[in-house]
Amino acid sequence: MTGRAPRLLVGLLAACLAGSSAPAGDMVDKRSGADFMSPENRAMQADDMSNPGMFAVLDGEQLWNRPEGANGRSCAGCHGEAATSMRGVAARYPAFDERSERPIDLAGRIGECRRTRQEASPLPHESPELIALTAYVAHQSRGMPISPPQDERLAPFRDNGRRLYERRIGQLDLSCASCHDARSGERLGGSVMPQGHPTAYPLYRLEWQAVGSLQRRLRNCMIGVRAEAFAFGAPEIVELELYLMERAAGLPLETPGVRP
């Protein structure tokens, strides 16, 4: 306990400093996880013909145009061409959801739209269909800077996300910040620790051999530090996403990314 006190103090001090002046989005030399990858993996992401994440985008395009649910309506039936209607949307999520009066992430919004507008059966978290639709919508914002909404109602949730980011958890007693702020660029085992900016989700992770969401990645990290992971869709995990997007503000979206 005594050994941890100085660390905790330093952490708190850093948090206070960061909290009092610069917003999280102003981190200097902000870099996408792609910058920390090998040239080979960067090349795999850069070329749409070799990026396996593109399969999710192509599936999403089909689902976008397919009528679903009691209304027999497709996403395109209301939103038209995703290339125009969805451009920039993913860069602004998570956003405030009027109905639940909480932040909602992009996959959550798609699920809500499906439930209330299409009156279709819900798509489970991390199901290939939901991943595909999310990837397709997010792909429309590729290259656009992450631009979190200036919505005061989100502030308390974002603050909570930040607290979660900085809170030490699990048997390894690590916070997100312990690795991704204090030690980014250094190695953990054989892996380089990136700054932890969620610029490319849903993304194809070689470890998964599949496309997955930011929530899946966050749960991975929590399992990694031997903590009990938040459930998919839990309020806390969305708050964490909200804070991470604020922290990544200005970085261009890359969906679908490739990561080791």
Partner: protein, 157 residues
């Protein structure tokens, strides 16, 4: 005193023997389907013919971040004419559960003897590319790849 020591000695031996049996039981199924060595796999491919070094260029990164998808390419020096071309290019690994990776069938219609793919490497090891020419000769190139192990591996839930 003496008896006690003997007894405990026997017990220890029993325990050792018991563990050996247990170890055998655990290992046997794996050993029964043991993979051929890299050399054996190559010999099976060449039918025992001599394999010369050269003419083949295997390009693979020396260090990879994840063994689940390792991009590599193979180029073979050849005019790729009707009379002088590469017939097959095979890839083998040293330490995966299975030695074979792929066999590519090419010829004059491919114009060049160049292929690229993505492979899996279970751990750091040697990868070998063998080219079979139309004259029946075999040429090879090997490369060592270090596979760094991911720090955060997802539990299968």
């Amino acid at each position: 005193m003496r008896d006690k020591a003997t007894t405990s000695g026997l017990r220890r031996r029993d325990l050792v023997a018991g563990s050996a049996v247990l170890a055998l039981t655990l290992v046997a199924p794996r050993a029964a389907r043991a993979r051929p060595t890299l050399e054996e796999a190559i010999r099976t491919f060449t039918g025992g013919a001599d394999v010369k070094t050269g003419r083949v260029q295997l390009a693979v990164p020396p260090l990879v971040e994840n063994g689940n998808a390792v991009g590599l390419s193979v180029k073979v020096e050849s005019p790729m004419s009707e009379t002088d071309h590469v017939r097959r290019i095979a890839l083998f690994n040293e330490k995966n559960p299975q030695a074979d990776v792929a066999v590519f069938h090419i010829g004059p219609r491919t114009g060049r003897a160049e292929v690229a793919t993505r492979i899996r490497l279970a751990t750091s090891q040697t990868v070998a590319a063998i080219a079979e020419m139309s004259d029946g000769s075999f040429w090879s190139h090997r490369a060592d790849v270090i596979v760094t192990l991911a720090a955060c591996v997802e539990d299968l839930l």
